[in-house]
């Protein structure tokens, strides 16, 4: 991204490889221009998110550096199961780490089999090539044992970063599974207390819960507004907002989303949208899309359809459900956190019927004409669930296109043909 002032000395202090980092930012800036700024009829409220993206390795990193100088701790993670309320309650800063670009894969493949999903290869690539300032600014990295790929990769990754905390994950929605998640949250709380040198207090935890709830509520409001036809915001822009949620200061972010939702409400009232009324409406479902993984949504919207929802961790799955902030003790409040986080219907759970139900509900509520199921190659949990999603929903007369891809551009031509043909099918 093009940064608005010179941060090279800051990046050098963080130990980044400046030449490679410059190359990365140059490519990202160009991609952002083509993918986002070239869109028509964008909401004015997107200016904030464009700015955040233009400063995603700049001003935001400076904020992290300043926060650390003031004694606060930065905690990085890769997954929506990591309860950021605990981090905020200890005055820490929670950030999502870079995992969305095909960068440093050659280096990554010295540690990982080639048949590893692009997301895992990406975070290895960013770490090994020293181009992720978020990772460089972390006091602690939390790695959750979700899929087999991540849990084995973290064994090696832990040695590439500073302090690392491994978090176990249940695989069943059972009482035992819930107990495990609670035990892991308590363990993480202890680790965070040690890293920050602070003690969790109920009042501060309640306040942190309120902060994160407010952000989730704002994202839910944004999601609901996309049910309108014409859609008031493109799927790309809405995805970007959900992506920025992992990097930005939560309070400032919530305000920006809320302001934009006010604007979108006016758009909906006046029938203004980003695509003509009646344009085919797509629900994306499947693996998370981290910045700058915009390949499939860009192809979909360039082909004349509009994406109206993301059944994804970077989207509805990650933001759904608020935490009940009633509780007198830290443990009671952690129980409330577990109540919420245990409902996340990640494909690592078996069986996982809740996810299919959520896809159905989202399709209905957002008035989607069809579903594109997106799975990263070698992401076995989502690739497996994709077949069931396609079978079940096609049997219910819901058109489904199942895509398996990665971060590369090699298959863009074939994907474009398949996506366009799917949109032709929706147009009838």
């Amino acid at each position: 991204m093009s940064t608005n002032s010179d941060y090279h000395s800051m990046w050098a202090n963080l130990g980044l490889d400046l030449a490679k980092h410059d190359a990365l930012l140059g490519a990202l800036g160009q991609l952002y221009q083509q993918t986002f700024l070239a869109q028509r009829d964008r909401p004015a409220g997107m200016a904030y998110f464009d700015f955040v993206m233009s400063e995603v390795h700049g001003l935001r990193i400076k904020e992290l550096v300043d926060a650390r100088a003031a004694g606060r701790k930065v905690v990085g993670s890769f997954c929506v199961y990591v309860p950021e309320e605990l981090i905020l309650a200890l005055d820490g800063v929670s950030v999502g780490l870079c995992a969305g670009a095909e960068f440093g894969f050659d280096a990554a493949e010295q540690y990982l089999p080639r048949t590893t999903c692009a997301l895992i290869k990406s975070f290895f690539g960013f770490a090994l090539e020293k181009v992720c300032p978020y990772l460089a600014a972390c006091d602690l990295v939390v790695g959750e044992a979700t899929c087999d790929g991540k849990k084995k990769a973290y064994e090696t990754f832990a040695g590439l970063v500073g302090r690392f905390h491994a978090m176990d994950m249940p695989q069943h929605h059972s009482p035992e599974g819930r107990a495990l998640l609670k035990a892991e949250f308590l363990k993480l709380a202890g680790e965070l207390e040690e890293v920050t040198g602070r003690r969790l207090e109920p009042a501060r935890l309640r306040a942190a819960i309120a902060t994160v709830n407010a952000r989730r509520a704002a994202l839910a409001r944004l999601a609901r507004l996309r049910a309108a036809d014409p859609a008031p915001i493109s799927g790309l822009d809405a995805l970007l907002v959900n992506q920025v949620a992992f990097y930005d200061d939560p309070v400032r972010f919530t305000k920006a989303v809320t302001d934009m939702c006010d604007e979108l409400e006016r758009r909906v009232a006046s029938g203004e949208g980003v695509a003509p009324k009646g344009a085919p409406r797509i629900l994306l479902s499947g693996c998370p899309m981290a910045v700058p993984n915009w390949k499939v949504p860009a192809l979909v919207e360039q082909a004349g359809a509009v994406i109206v929802g993301e059944e994804s961790c970077v989207g509805e799955r990650g933001a759904r459900n608020l935490v009940d902030a009633t509780g007198e003790t830290v443990e009671e409040l952690i129980d409330r956190l577990v109540d919420r986080y245990f409902q996340i219907d990640c494909a690592i759970y078996t069986p996982n019927p809740e996810r299919l139900d959520h896809v159905r509900v989202m399709r209905h509520d957002l008035r989607a004409d069809g579903i594109i199921h997106y799975a990263l190659q070698f992401c076995t949990p989502y690739q497996m669930e994709a077949i069931g999603v396609e079978r079940q929903l096609e049997a219910e007369a819901v058109p489904v296109l199942r895509i398996e891809t990665d971060y590369g551009a090699e298959d863009a031509g074939q994907l474009r043909t398949r996506i366009e043909a799917f949109i032709e099918r929706l147009r009838g």
């Binding site: 891809t405 074939q414 994907l415 043909t417 366009e420 043909a421 032709e424 099918r425």
Partner: protein, 250 residues
């Protein structure tokens, strides 16, 4: 009104023009290194009133010529519907794509499958294998049809299969048996894709590879039912485009 369809494939460009419900022009040219030049040459001869384009070069042409673009899937479905109204499954093997398309009773695309990252078993694969065995394409199919048995070729990757075939020939494996083995493997692979959406109703086979009698026969055998191929399977998608150009809304 001259309604014209243009299919810019990876190996050949096909043009079909319709006037008054009749095909008045049908041309096939090699794509070459300059597909746009080939398209201009074909279009200069046709001078269409309405043009619909398809194929991997559809967006390239659309940037230079006023035309509506549709996917090969919609184009092949429209052509197949016209030529064989009872068709409910369309199999299209072109230069670097294999597609299987399910049609509903109105001839609309109900579901489709298409190769994504790998072009194994497509027209280009057959061309490379024919060359490796020192056959022309026609000789290759004829040799496969009359071979007494099939010799197994394990790789379906164009690059690896070529070296495998060369080493098998060096070990005196009969050429015609290798030819049959390759054809059988393509039919097997294509049938596996088609079975994912095969319903009742007729099977229609088009695209350049449908000109190959051995692939046609093996595919029918694999699917356990007749496979219908038109007189000129290579121009079905271009015909579909011309038909869509003739309609009010392509």
């Amino acid at each position: 009104m001259l309604a014209t369809g243009l299919d810019i494939g990876s190996r050949t460009v096909k043009l079909v023009a319709i006037e008054g419900g009749r095909v008045v022009l049908e041309e096939v040219a090699e794509t070459t290194h300059d597909p746009l030049g080939v398209c201009h040459r074909l279009l200069d001869g046709a001078r269409p009133d309405r043009l619909v384009v398809t194929g991997y070069g559809r967006h390239l042409v659309q940037r230079h010529v006023e035309a509506e673009a549709v996917t090969e899937i919609r184009a092949a479905a429209a052509g197949a519907r016209h030529l064989r109204p009872a068709a409910r499954t369309v199999i299209d093997i072109g230069g670097q794509d294999t597609k299987a398309i399910a049609l509903d009773d109105q001839g609309r695309v109900r579901k489709f499958e298409m190769n994504d990252k790998c072009a194994a078993g497509t027209g280009r694969f057959l061309e490379v294998m024919a060359t490796a065995l020192a056959y022309t394409l026609d000789e290759f199919a004829a040799a496969a049809c009359s071979a007494p048995a099939a010799a197994r070729v394990n790789s379906m990757c164009t690059v690896f299969a070529e070296s495998e075939v060369v080493s098998l020939v060096a070990r005196r494996t009969p050429r015609d048996q290798l030819a049959l083995g390759i054809h059988a493997a393509i039919a097997e692979r294509t049938a596996a894709m088609a079975r994912r959406l095969l319903g009742d109703g007729e099977v229609f086979f088009c695209g350049g590879v449908a000109r190959n009698g051995c692939v046609r026969a093996r595919l029918a055998e694999e699917l356990g039912r007749p496979v219908h191929t038109p007189d000129n399977p290579q121009t079905v998608a271009a015909l579909g485009c011309a038909l869509l150009a003739g309609d009010a809304t392509p």
